[in-house]
Symmetry: C2
Subunit: 153 residues, 2 copies
């Protein structure tokens, strides 16, 4: 089995377990949204509206509220992250593995998003927290500026 296929099953299981634990129900709509989101939006950062417009093409009967609620469910169950890049709209992205962690550089000109991870930053940050006796739950780091295409740099 490919790593991608393996991860697919993992996510499915995590979601199903969450559904079971919370005594929720499996529905056609949730399946459709799950498939669309995890098949086509890996490595992307999609707004609720965008995903809704996308899904509507193949499934016109699905409502915005359902997409909204389902993305929230993905987040709660730990298979998706919510991101906020300062344009007032929440964005969602699939979590690629149990351990992955990354941050973002956002181009203010073209909207392009570059992801990065840096161990040194992570350890500094936890060190600072420890020094202040601060119990870290999560953190965000965003760099705004011009990407290589847009900037003179």
């Amino acid at each position: 089995m490919t790593p991608v296929a393996k991860r697919k099953m993992e996510r499915r299981k995590t979601f199903n377990d969450y559904i079971a634990k919370k005594q929720l129900k499996s529905t056609k709509q949730r399946d459709i949204i799950f498939n669309e989101f995890f098949n086509y939006y890996i490595g992307r950062h999609v707004t609720v509206e965008e995903l809704y417009e996308d899904i509507k093409r193949s499934n016109p009967s699905i409502g915005f509220a359902t997409v909204y609620r389902t993305l929230k469910l993905f987040k709660e169950s730990g298979i998706a992250s919510e991101r906020n890049f300062g344009d007032g709209k929440a964005r969602y992205e699939p979590i690629r593995s149990e351990t992955e962690h990354h941050h973002h550089m956002i181009c203010t000109e073209c909207g392009d998003i570059v992801e990065f991870a840096n161990m040194q930053i992570e350890s500094c940050l936890h060190q600072v927290a420890k020094l202040n006796e601060f119990n870290v739950k999560n953190h965000k780091l965003e760099i705004y500026g011009l990407c290589s295409s847009c900037g003179e740099s």
Copy 2:
């Protein structure tokens, strides 16, 4: 002259220069808001609503829109920063010096905000940007969790 008094004059000048450059006008309201904000909110992170409620007590005729627009003006002129800590409300804080730069740890329990600065993080971050040919305009780093009072750590 104390450093605080010196900084006070600097800010005033920066603001006046901005007013002049943009061909705006000095007004009583702007003076009142300026004084309240820079006398009482150094090191704090105030919402528009909070500052408005505060100012209304001594100056009941000042409108919310004016406070809103004036804080925006402070930001544009470079004497205040706008912050967003994920509760959906913009917050403003006076900039303490021309060169200062810091980030925030936000307690999700009591709302307390701890500031910190870390040179190593800053240089790592610029290194990452350089590597990606990304021209940095600004950046934000926020740590969410439990402060020393609220957390078991």
